[in-house]
Symmetry: C2
Subunit: 376 residues, 2 copies
């Protein structure tokens, strides 16, 4: 672990708990908030590879990163079960291992594009990343505890602790998603122990759903007849149950929890306001994802959205992971153009032209646009 | 003619010249400028009919409306011709009569939607209208004068006179468009003498081209080897010869004259931010036009631009006139939706999703959008 002298900034970043090695991270990522640690991946760094390296993966924390001691750590399963469990890490490793390559996206990714603006971290396009998570099936653990017929939800809590009057970050997911054979308790991220900022030693990974369901530093799973009752289920991570006019104040009771991700694509290259030359070929590329659905095609336009061409989808593929798309454009006329990308998924969904606005700026998935200047 | 007492406002509206009967017009139209008289048709008034009544047709003047006396009025044809002509109205009526139903649109219609904003009259959607123009073929007059082989353009001037240092409003069109069998010198608008504010007693009607080419109060046509040399050809009514980045200052020499209209559609009903109820059928309708091309279809979306349905095109049709489109929508869910319209023409052109910005805000033809609120 990191062992140099602690300067004030690094101490602040560690919050009330465990220090994480921020040397490379703080140079690479965009700091949206220092405490809690909310770091966005710059788009050029996402562009480099299909799997996002651990130290380039966006970081979203609601509370200070906790201190974790494996000697005392355990995961408890209680509530509507036949047999409550208290599992140490050696118990976790006795379950069969599995893995999933998953695109995790913050519900608020793209919030900065909300019009009118909405409060919250002003994420641009990079609060999303894809990693290969290894761990065990959550259902194997739940089956060992013996879920009662009354179970409808699981309520997850992490080792992170709220300071002062901040509400604890507690989320729940329906029992069906918890028992789904693809939902895992992960201990490895891209082949190594999960870094502390990503949930060491164990986190939930709920594939295809917004990232807030994938509880980090998980220490308790309570099987319940009802969903979690706190701020982060009753107020946050909810979207209006109908499209609302921009700027509307919506009562949380007229909102529903946001679960699976929508269909979306973003360009990773070129960047906004890039320059190229006529006669040169420029590769337009990016990623498209659709939560629990599959990306079936991505179309690209280079003429302000008048005409569209199917992009090539890379071979790299996993059930819950983004697809990289590519389209080579050879501009023949100088000028300033807008390239657009529009993904379509296996549920027939496609990206909208105009936003379905909501008070927290969740789900932003309007067709992506980048301006490209072509010199003569 | 109008004969009541003149109040100051009506006197101002008359400018330096002929008074026009503004009683109904000033109550119906949106005043964008009093002098010169620039009045926009409110969209609900456009919605009522395929042909726009004379007193509801938008008015665009660059200079004060001139005083016209038929006893002294004449039209001269000179320049690169075998035989210069001086025609009185009785001479005009000796040519064979023809007519054209034409959608005239101000080049700056929709300018208010430019982002970043641009200077000029801040037209919304209603600087457009359709009238049936009767008159004579311009080519018949030009043939009588005998156009020389050196002729490349005709330069048109009206009886309107610039005050002070304002440049005169003089435009030219290429000889091919002037000799086109659909280009007319009109004396009737929708069956009556052209109202003074629309060009009495004679105006050019250049079908399919931006309205600034259709010179009002025309008194001189000069056949020329070159296009007109003044402000309104060298500086105004020009668009960049390539798409430019928003906010760019573009040298007029890197611009080209704007001629034929682009493909466009606008909703005339419902209006922005309208309200309806689930279970009720609401008719979405509007007009689509494409200058010298034909409208082949109009698609409508009611789901933020994700999916599109072909609208019905009304039977009313003329070569250079807009087509009315209709689409019945029966919303089944409450909420606030965005309806969009997108026209496609016989040249394969379709409306863009994002604007090709230009310094004067000409040609705005992004797919139209109106918000519709559906109550439960």
């Amino acid at each position: 672990m990191w062992s140099g002298p602690i300067n004030r900034r690094e101490f602040i970043l560690s919050g009330a708990g465990f220090l994480f090695q921020i040397g490379r991270i703080k140079e690479s990522l965009i700091i949206r908030s220092e405490v809690p640690a909310d770091f966005e991946t710059p788009i050029p760094l996402l562009d480099r590879q299909w799997l996002t390296p651990n130290d380039l993966h966006f970081i979203r924390c609601h509370l200070p990163i906790p201190r974790v001691d494996l000697n005392t750590w355990n995961l408890t399963i209680d509530g509507e079960v036949q047999q409550p469990l208290k599992l140490e890490m050696q118990d976790i490793h006795r379950f069969r291992e599995t893995n999933q390559t998953v695109t995790l996206e913050c519900s608020g990714n793209g919030r900065v594009y909300s019009d009118p603006p909405v409060p919250g971290l002003q994420w641009e396009k990079g609060a999303v990343g894809t990693a290969r998570w290894a761990g065990i099936l959550l259902r194997d653990v739940l089956n060992q505890a013996g879920v009662k017929p009354t179970a409808r939800h699981i309520i997850m809590n992490g080792a992170d602790v709220p300071p002062g009057s901040v509400p604890d970050f507690v989320r729940s997911i329906p029992i069906e998603k918890a028992m789904h054979p693809d939902t895992i308790l992960a201990y490895h991220m891209n082949g190594v122990d999960i870094p502390i900022e990503h949930g060491f030693p164990l986190r939930l990974v709920v594939p295809g759903w917004e990232a807030a369901s994938s509880t980090k530093w998980i220490v308790n799973i309570r099987v319940s007849e009802t969903e979690a009752d706190g701020y982060f289920m009753r107020n946050a991570y909810r979207i209006p149950n109908r499209p609302v006019a921009p700027g509307t104040a919506v009562d949380p009771k007229d909102m529903i929890p946001y679960t699976a991700l929508d269909v979306k694509s973003v360009f990773t290259s070129p960047l906004e306001d890039s320059t190229t030359r006529i006669g040169s070929s420029i590769e337009l590329r990016g990623f498209a994802w659709a939560g629990v659905a599959d990306i079936t095609r991505v179309h690209v336009s280079t003429d302000f959205g008048r005409t569209w061409t199917a992009a090539t989808l890379d071979a790299d593929k996993a059930k819950y992971a983004w697809r990289r798309f590519r389209h080579v454009w050879k501009p023949t006329q100088p000028g300033s153009y807008i390239a657009m990308s529009r993904a379509t998924d296996s549920q027939g969904r496609t990206q909208p032209i105009a936003a379905r606005w909501n008070p927290a700026g969740y789900l932003y998935n309007v067709i992506d646009k980048v301006r490209i200047n072509v010199q003569g």
